[in-house]
Amino acid sequence: MKLLLLHCTESGQKVLARLPQIGYRLPSTVRTMELKCTGRINEELLLSSLEDGFDAVLVVGCHRENCRYLDGNLRAERRVQRIARMLADAGVMDKKVDMLLVGPDEGAKLAARIAAFLAPGAEPAAGAETASVPAQSGGKK
């Protein structure tokens, strides 16, 4: 399960930067991409990310009423909802998009959401960690 975090420079970046402080490391299948504001994220970016090979995209933006650009986060949220609905209606079950509104100090919330994305139906987190084996990409470039 490959997950892309599209996050903003404000709360999104800050919450990511503070993850090590709460002892959380991003799982290896998670990639991050920073944008100035989640308002830049549109349908095209979300969908092309999924097409590029990500199984899910999680948009991480600021809380409501807290966007530096007034309503970039709300615009992103609506677009994400629209695409989520569109994918569900189109019968695309293996791809997901979601939005998380966080404050800089809500690393645990982000971590929980990532975990929920990555381990649907799998063993609990601890088990997953012990099962981890260094990956070898072999011939794949």
Binding site: A17, N66, A122
Partner: protein, 550 residues
């Protein structure tokens, strides 16, 4: 990617997580990226980078380098333009990574490649500075507008004051104006007598349009002027009472102003329908005191649900209690019988649980002051956001107290918050600083990542003009396309996301660069098998909830 070189910290500060620079170099060389490793750059500096090739440099380091000003010095040393330099915090990636040595390099190369693509697409740009017009327009000659104008005039800024037809003092400052009768007159005089203050009557509509370096105004009389900044201080107006014979606050204050005798019982009826704002309460209590003290009248204040956030409200309550004002907290079932301008009021006092009935000599029903229509038009022309209660300041505005969503437009008084005289005085002093900064003759730099319009692609649908939260997009009839007002743009990218014709691009993060960066991220192999879900340090409550393949 021939043009991009990477300078990377050797991360010797991370003894447990050594980066194998050789394998990383090899990995990146495949993509045509040269890597130069700097040894302890944060301590030893970054001078010895002679074999650096390529025009564009991606510096992969940690926030320490930025904090120590090393990036700045690096840019100076290699005279790198902003478009040719990008810094990347790889320390976080390293911390996030795993004990397995190989995976660090893979993860880093992935991240570096993605950013190299972004850097590659960065365009050289001239550093844009905008030289603003030297004048300020103050919209509104009310209490706050005059304060602002007087303060600005005192700093040698040229000020035009647009005088609307509203009252000289808006509700909220009535008490202040009455107590200090000369204050308003003095403020006005200060503007008039200063060399640089001019009053312009607001007649026949005023048209305002945004320019790169300020605003253009044209009055109905044909007068035209250019301004570098606008102070939005509209006077709010209290509407008339629905009950014939009852007074609104402004009418009562006019009576007090005329020194009319207000003997007998004066009843104030508050919170009808909507809770009263603190300014209204303040004006009411102030009037009550005057009526008690100067007119020997009896005062009843009927209230239900006052907003109790005003700083000095308790104090005022106290004052008025001392002055003998009768407070009644009425219930919903208050009866108000209008007998041709004479009122019978009966109800139940919730605090002392008794019924009451009064027959006041005059009834005052304060109305919620409203922004006059022409001020709304003015605000719309500037794309100012009028939030609830018609304030021009959004909750999410973060900068200085006077900032609005439109750069170059500042708010004081009722446009900014409640009409609280102490607050207005504080605001005006910060306003003066903000305006001075804005009108700095040296100019101000525009945001780096502003959007650019591809006029060939633009279908002139004006979506960007409508969605821009900062009023930074305008129509350009000459070009037949949308235009970016760079000085107002805050580079959020909302317009780029919304543009239906894909005619807008963020200057330094073009669609192609962004998409190929995402692609690069997706292409990179995982560092661990996909089955490895949450790491041990993950949140304790991250129990899986739904099925699916993993």
């Amino acid at each position: 990617m021939q043009g991009v070189s990477v300078v990377m910290c050797d991360f010797s500060c991370q003894p447990r997580k050594k980066v194998d620079c050789r394998s990383l170099r090899k990995e990146l060389a495949k993509a045509g990226i040269q890597v130069v490793v700097a040894k302890k750059p944060c301590r030893q500096g970054i001078e010895n980078l002679d074999d650096l090739q390529g025009e564009k440099v991606l510096f992969a380091g940690c926030p320490l380098l930025e904090e120590n000003g090393l990036y700045g010095r690096f840019r100076e040393r290699f005279s790198a333009a902003p478009a040719n330099f990008l810094d990347l915090d790889v320390k976080r990636s390293i911390l996030d990574l795993y004990d397995d040595a190989k995976s660090i390099e893979q993860a880093l190369s992935r991240s570096i490649k993605a950013h190299a693509r972004i850097l590659e697409a960065k365009e050289a740009e001239a550093t844009e500075t905008v030289k603003p017009e030297a004048k300020v327009l103050v919209y509104g000659a009310g209490y706050s507008g005059l304060h602002a104008a007087a303060a600005l005039c005192a700093t040698d800024v040229s000020v035009d004051v647009l005088e609307t037809s509203g009252p000289t003092v808006s509700p909220g400052c009535l008490a202040e104006a009455l107590r200090n009768r000369d204050a308003v007159r003095k403020l006005r005089a200060a503007v008039e007598q200063s060399q640089n203050g001019v009053f312009i009557p607001h007649r026949n509509g005023v048209r305002l349009s945004a320019l790169e370096n300020g605003f253009h105004m044209r009055t109905g009389d044909g007068m035209e002027a250019l301004y570098g900044a606008v102070v939005f201080a509209p006077e709010r107006v209290e509407g008339p009472c629905a009950e014939e014979g009852a007074l609104n606050l402004s009418a009562l204050y006019a009576a007090l102003e005329r020194r009319q005798q207000l003997r007998g019982i004066t009843a104030f009826l508050l919170d009808r329908g909507r809770p009263s704002t603190p300014e209204v309460v303040r004006d009411v209590l102030e009037a009550a005191k005057i009526i008690r003290d100067a007119h020997r009248g009896e005062v009843w204040v009927l209230l239900r649900n006052v907003q109790v956030s005003l700083q000095y409200q308790e104090e005022l309550y106290g004052d008025c209690r001392d002055a003998g004002v009768v407070f009644v907290k009425y219930r919903e079932d208050l009866s108000l019988v209008d007998d041709y301008g004479s009122f019978d009021i009966a109800g139940h006092d919730e605090q002392v649980h008794t019924a009451f009935s009064i027959h006041p000599d005059r009834l005052v029903i304060p109305q919620i002051p409203r922004l006059p229509a022409e001020a709304g038009v003015f605000a719309a022309a500037l794309k100012l956001r009028l939030e609830k209660d018609e304030y021009s300041q959004s909750d999410s505005l973060w900068n200085l107290p006077n900032d609005t969503n439109r750069t170059g437009v500042f708010a004081v008084g009722s446009a900014r918050s409640g009409m609280i005289p102490t607050l207005i005085r504080q605001d005006v002093s910060s306003l003066v600083a903000a305006v001075e900064e804005r009108l700095d003759p040296a100019g101000f730099a525009v945001e780096e990542n502003i959007p650019v319009v591809d006029a060939d692609k633009c279908v002139y649908c004006l979506t960007c003009v409508r969605v821009c939260p900062f009023g930074a997009m305008a129509k350009d009839p000459e070009q037949g396309a949308a235009r970016v007002i760079a000085s107002a743009c805050r580079a959020c990218g909302i317009c780029v996301a919304e543009c239906p014709a894909e005619a807008l691009e963020v200057r330094n993060l073009r669609r192609e660069a962004l998409f190929s960066a995402v692609e690069a991220l997706a292409e990179a192999p995982d560092t661990r098998p996909p089955a490895a879900g949450s790491p041990a340090a993950g949140p304790p409550a991250a129990a899986p909830t739904s099925g699916g393949d993993s």
